[in-house]
């Protein structure tokens, strides 16, 4: 059975461990936004929430085959859809 897919947009920070989603928009301040984009987190990228740190912040993501960590407050500025 295929896992439940939610098409409506939500914040990356709302995703749970083990979920995958597609990036719709990267918001936030200039530097952060630029930095995130240059690491390859651009519109249309699929990303997988590997885990949250033991204190629930930061979170670890897998995208394009590598792992990055992002603070939850930073992830709140990233809008994703197609959560599965």
């Amino acid at each position: 059975m295929a896992p439940e897919t939610r098409w409506e947009a939500m914040r990356l920070s709302e995703l749970k461990e083990g979920q995958t989603a597609t990036v719709v928009r990267v918001g936030g301040n200039g530097l952060l936004r630029r930095r995130i984009q240059e690491m390859g987190l651009v519109k249309g990228t699929d990303l997988y929430v590997e885990k949250y740190a033991p204190l629930k912040d930061p979170m670890e993501l897998v995208l394009k085959g590598f792992h990055i960590s992002l603070r939850v407050e930073e992830a709140a500025d990233i809008v994703v859809e197609n959560v599965r």
């Binding site: 990267v26 301040n29 530097l31 952060l32 936004r33 630029r34 930095r35 995130i36 984009q37 240059e38 690491m39 390859g40 651009v42 519109k43 590997e50 885990k51 740190a53 033991p54 204190l55 629930k56 912040d57 930061p58 670890e60 394009k64 085959g65 590598f66 792992h67 990055i68 960590s69 992002l70 603070r71 930073e74």
Partner: protein, 727 residues
Amino acid sequence: MPPQHLTIALAGNPNSGKTSIFNNLTGTRQKVGNWPGVTVEKKEGHITRSGYDLTIVDLPGTYSLTPFSIEEVVARNFLLDERPDVVIDIIDASNLERSLYLATQIRELDCKVLFALNMADMARARGTKIDGRKLSELLDIPVVFTVGNRNEGMDELLEQAIRLAESTAPPDRTRRVKYSADIEEAIGRLAFFMESKTDDSLPYLPRWVAVKLLEDDAIVQERLIAAAPDAGRQILQAAQALRKHLTDRFDEDPQIVMTDERYGFIAGIVREVQTSTTQQRVDISRSIDLVLTHRLAGFPIFIFFIWAMFQLTFTLGEYPVKWIQTGVELASGTAASLMPEGILKSLVVDGIIAGVGSVIKFMPNILILFFCIALFEDTGYMARSAFLMDRIMHLIGLHGKSFIPMLMGFGCNVPAIMAARTLESEKDRILTILITPFMSCSAKLPVYVVLAGAFFGARAGTVIFGLYLLGIALSILTGRVFRSTLLKGADAPFVMELPPYRMPMAKSLMIHMWDRSKLFLRKMGQVILLGSVIIWALSSFPREVPTTRDDAAQTRQAAAAAGAGNPAAAVAPMQGVEDGSEDTADEIRRMQKTKQTENSYIGRLGRFVEPLFAPLGIDWRGGVSLLSGFVAKEIVVSTMGVLHATGDGEEEDVLGKALAASGMTALSALSMMVFVLLYLPCLATTAAIRRETGSYQWMFFSIGYSTTVAWVAAFLVYQGGRLLGFS
């Protein structure tokens, strides 16, 4: 014919294996890290090859060439200003897409680029195959397969680089990033406008400048104005108009749109050259991470590792430290017995050997600590420790990586401050360096032991623990205050790569450890040597002790009594002459030493600053001891010993009694301990601050700040205590 000279720059993402390729190519000793941003300084190596003198420059590892981090600015300025003959871009085969992002930016600069497709074997093992020839064709860039950590492909890399440098064909301008029609049009118009306004005299490629102006790149704007002051302004105006047009068109900042489009262009290339056979790779690294950053086990494991590092550094390190101390004492004893009595002997024994010895003895601690840090970095655990700790450190306005330096501060501030290099953001680094001295280092402990032991008896342990807590509290407070004032600005975003765990290479660990320790030895050595000589001079001059006739007579008497056949007894009474009168001679010698110290420049300085210390309940002897503690905090105890004429401070209870007799109370002892906890860092730490912040300003700031905090805190303790009726 003299050999021709070529400059080759190495560029690449952090963790792409760039540093190991650099080591292979040049044989230069470099540190190899597994942590983003380790290579902050520019590093060069020189070799000769095929009749050429090659200068190989290791650029900082970056993900991009936007001017947002120091590393990126350094890398880009080098490419712009030094115009290397060839740029070797190291492409991590496991991260093709992201590596190509940097590559497209280098390509836009119109450099001669060569790809080193690194670690393709590893990528293949993980199910990713890359068609090197196709990649080379699509981008018109030569591609060489390399395996950095096995030293494979280096010869071909150099051959290709030389061939590329020799070729006169300009890079194919059609094989670079093509943006969407609107953006290409804006670039074309702006570039054309630029060429017509400046008669094509700009030192940079117009297309590149146009791209950067549309991205609102501040540094390029400055450069343009500098290169063409009048035309530059018109060009900037035109660029702003176009930016506005594009922002309206895309409903988004052009810079973001262009980043998106570059990744779009890259995605097209990746689709053609890369074939993945496995969807979800089997990944040992991930399994390790499941344990090491586990929700429940993560912290206990982290604490264990830190505990182990601490134990290794300060407990295991204790043994070689003792050997070195014995060696220093031996050297000092030998020098003392070989040299004739006099000022030169005093300079060598009390100044140089004692001063340098006090620093050299940290060497084993530093070697072990840097070994552990290198191990953390090279395996990839350092990034995980930042991942674990970031939440807590973020509360102080710091980065997760600040934790390790601060913790090391409890052992010794010198390696702790040096460990702050692992922080990428300069503000984070400086803030960490400023608050680390509040972590009570192990050298301060003897002072607490003497004072708390003498005045607080059974509660000494609690008092000492309280001091440590006070240090931590003040570091948190300082962190928060400075973060919102002095070192304001967005904290660096925590976007950090978590590189795959790797087996560390022994050679790389050694290079890593030794490079940093060497730095410590060389740089510290000079400052410490100078500093200790100055302190020595201050405390040994003037030499003449205004002795009364009685004193002199007593000394002669005692010396005679100690045994006519043993003149050494008068000079060095501790040589164990079993004679009752030895005590007397010792006593007198001590009195003389006390008088001499009192009368020395540092003693006079102590008298001079007495009014400053008086409100803290600290007398002039305390003041002098604190001043002498600048060399090393342990010295505070021995100076107090000298000034209170209790011998060399060996017997703590004796000193305690002498202190009580001189009018020190529990409250003033507490005040003094608080002052010791917080006041100016020792000479070695100061030198480390100077070195690691790169400025005397921060060093003096740190000295001034910590001493002010110390004074205020001690004042509050002493005067507040008195108001509350303690004594």
